[in-house]
Amino acid sequence: MTFLIQQTLIYAIPLMIVALAGVYAERSGIINLALEGIMIFGAFVGVLFVNLTQQAGTFDAAKAAGDWVALQGFELLAMLAAAVMGAIFSLLLSFASVNLKADQTIGGTALNLMAPALVLFLIRIIANQNTLQMYSGDAASWFMIKKSLFGYGRNDEMGFLGSTFIDKVYLATYICILLFVILSIILYKTRFGLRLRSCGENPQAADSLGINVYKMRYIGTTISGALAGMGGFVYALTTANCASTGDVAGFGFLALAVMIFGNWKPLNIAGASLLFGLFKCIAAAYSSIDINGDGVFLLAEIGISPHFYRMLPYLITLIVLAFTSKKSRAPKAEGIPYDKGQR
C-alpha cells in the first residue's frame, strides 16, 4: 500500500502541476498545446543544471558531509532553473499568439516539435549519446529524503504515515503540492486571479474596464511555462532518475486531458490527476503491486497483457472525455486572438 501511494504520487504530482499550468494559460485565453514540449525542455534544463553543477563540484562537500539540507537546496535550484527556462521557452508561444495573433494550436505544435529536436541535438553533442544523465551518483543518493536523515536506523519502523510520506520521498513532490495550493488560491481568491480569468472569458469587457489583455495573456502563459518546465524536471527527477531523453512519454498531453476532465478547476484537477497517476502507476508497476501485503501480486496473476495496462491511461482518458465533454465548460475566449478593434 505504501508503495502504491508513493508511486501514484510520483506520477500524479507532475500531472497535477502541469495541468494547473494549462489552466493558467487557458484561463487567460491561450490554448497551451505546448505543455509537452515545455516539459521536455524544462526536464533537459534541470538535468543539465544538475550535471554542470556537479561537474563544477559546488555541492561535493555537502554531499560528502551528508548535509542533506544543502542538497535539498540544490534540488530547489534545479527546479528553479527549469521553471525559468520553461517560462522563457513559453515566450515563443505567447509572442506568436498574442502579438502576431497566430494559430495557437499550430504554434503549440511547433514548440512540441522544437523541444525534443533541440534537446536531442544538444544532448547528442554534450553527452555523445541520446541520454543526459547526472554527472555522478544517482537521483536517490543525492536528492531522496530517507528515514536515516531523521535519525532512524535501517530497521526502525516509522509507522504507516511516516514510511509513506517521509521515507524515500522527494522534496519536489511537496513543493509542487504547496505551489498548486497557493497558485489555485491566487487564481480564484485574488484580484489578479479574477482579472486573469476575465481575459479568458470576455477580453473585450475586461479591456473596457482597463485591464491590459495582452499583458494578462503574457503573464498567464509565462506562469504556465514556468510550471510546465518545473513539472518536466520533477517528472525527470522522480521517475527517470534525473535523466533527460527528449521525451516525457506524453505526460504534457495527458495533463491537458486531466485539465479538461477537471473542467478547468483546481480541485477537480487534483482529483483527476490522482486518478490518472494511479493508472500510470499500475501501467508502470503492475507486476510488483501488492495491494494488501499478502505476497500475492494480483494484477500480474490475472494474466492480462502488460500492453493493456500501458494503454489504459489513454483509453480511460478518451472514455472519460466522452462522458464529460457535454458538461465541460472551457473558458469562452480561449484560442481566439484578442483584437482590440473586434466587436
Binding site: L92, I106, A110, M114, I125, G250, L315, L318
Partner: protein, 415 residues
Amino acid sequence: MKRRGTNLLEREGARSVLASVISIVIGMLVGSLLILAMGLFNSGLSLASAWDGIRLVFGGLFSTGRSASGTLTWGFNPTSIGNMLFRATPLIMTGLSVAVAFKTGLFNIGAPGQYLMGTAASLMIALGIPTETVPAGLVWLLAFLGGALAGALWGAIPGMLKAFLNINEVLACIMTNWIAANLVTWAFDGSQYRNLVENTKSAYIYKTSYNGVATSKLGLDLIFPNSQVNGGIIIAIVLAVLVYILMTKTTLGYELKACGSNRHAARYAGINDKRNIVLSMAIAGALSGIAASLYYLSGNTEFFWSTYQSLPATGFNGIPVALLAVNHPIGVIFTGCFMSMLDIVGLQLTNLTAYNEYITDVIISVIVYLSAFSLVIKMLLTKRSKRNRTAAGTTESAPEKAADAVHTEKGGESA
C-alpha cells in the same frame, strides 16, 4: 475574372509560395546559427566543422561525401535523390492526410496513430498470406488496401468523437495515437511476424520481401542507381492529384470545405456536417494508412514493433508538409520532397560531421512555428495591396470592382 496583376505579389498563389520560401530560408538560417553557436562554444568542435555543417544544411542533397584529403566533395548524387524520392513518398501521403483534415477545419495530429495502424495491417496481410498460393501482386494490392482501410477506421474514431460528442479532435487524436502505439506492439508481441532469422535484430518485423511482396520499381532504380526509390512515389503523386480533384471538382469536396469554413452555416445550407467531419477524418486516416503501406511494402524497410514508447516521426512531419504547402494537394508533393531532402541532409550531417540529424528537426519546427503566423502575414499583405488599389482606383468601373470582391473572397477561402 482572374486578375493578372503586373506585380507578382498581388497573386494569391505567388504570395503563398513566397511565404513558404521565406519560412524555409529562415528555418535553415536558424539551423545554421545553431550549428555555428555549437562550433564556437563547444571546445570539441571547430569553426571549420561548423562551416561544413552549414554547407551541408543547404546543399546536403548534392554532397558526395569527403575526399581523401578530408574536404567535402559535391556533385550530382543520384543515390541521394532516389532516396529522397523514396522517403518523400510517405511524407507526401501524411501531408495530404493533414491537409484534407485542415480543409474541413480539423487538425489531424492523429496521423502517427493512423500510420501505425496502417503499418500493422499491411504488414500482417503482406506477410500473412502465403505467396505460394496467391500471386504476389494480389497480396501487395490487398496489403495496400488493408493499410488504407485500417488507417481510415482509426481516423474515423476521433472524427466520430468530434462530430457526435464534441470532443476536441486534437486531444482525441493524441490519445488514439498512444492507444495505437500500444495496440500495434501488443499485436506483434509474440506473433509469427517477428524476424527471428536474423537474430542480431531484436524487435523487428520481417521485410515484406521475405514473403516475396515488394512494390515494383517501375524502372526508377535505373535512373537512380543504388537508391531505395520505387513505384510508390508515382502512386503518391497520382493520389495527390486525385485528392486535388476531390477537393476542388466534386460535391463532396465542396461540402467538406464548407464544413471547414463555417460548420453552422454549412448545416444551415443543408449539409450533413457530422457525416462530413467523420468522412474527412476517415479520408485523412486512409491517406496516412497508405503512407505506411507504401513505405513498408517497398520490401527493403523494416518495422520496429516494440514501439509503445514512441510515435513515428513520419506522421508528425505530415503537419509541416501540409502547412508549408498551405494545404494545397499539389503543393504537398513538393513540400514532401523538401522535407525528405532535410532527412537526407540529416543523414549526411551525422555521417560526415560531428553534428547530428536532430538539427533538421529543429529546422522543421522553426518552419512550423513560422507557418503558424504566415497566414496572418499573408492576410496583412492582401489587405495592404487591396487598400492601395482602392486608393488608386476610385475611377474603376463598378462591375470590375464587384469582380474584384469575388476574387478576394475566393482568395480568402483558399488561404
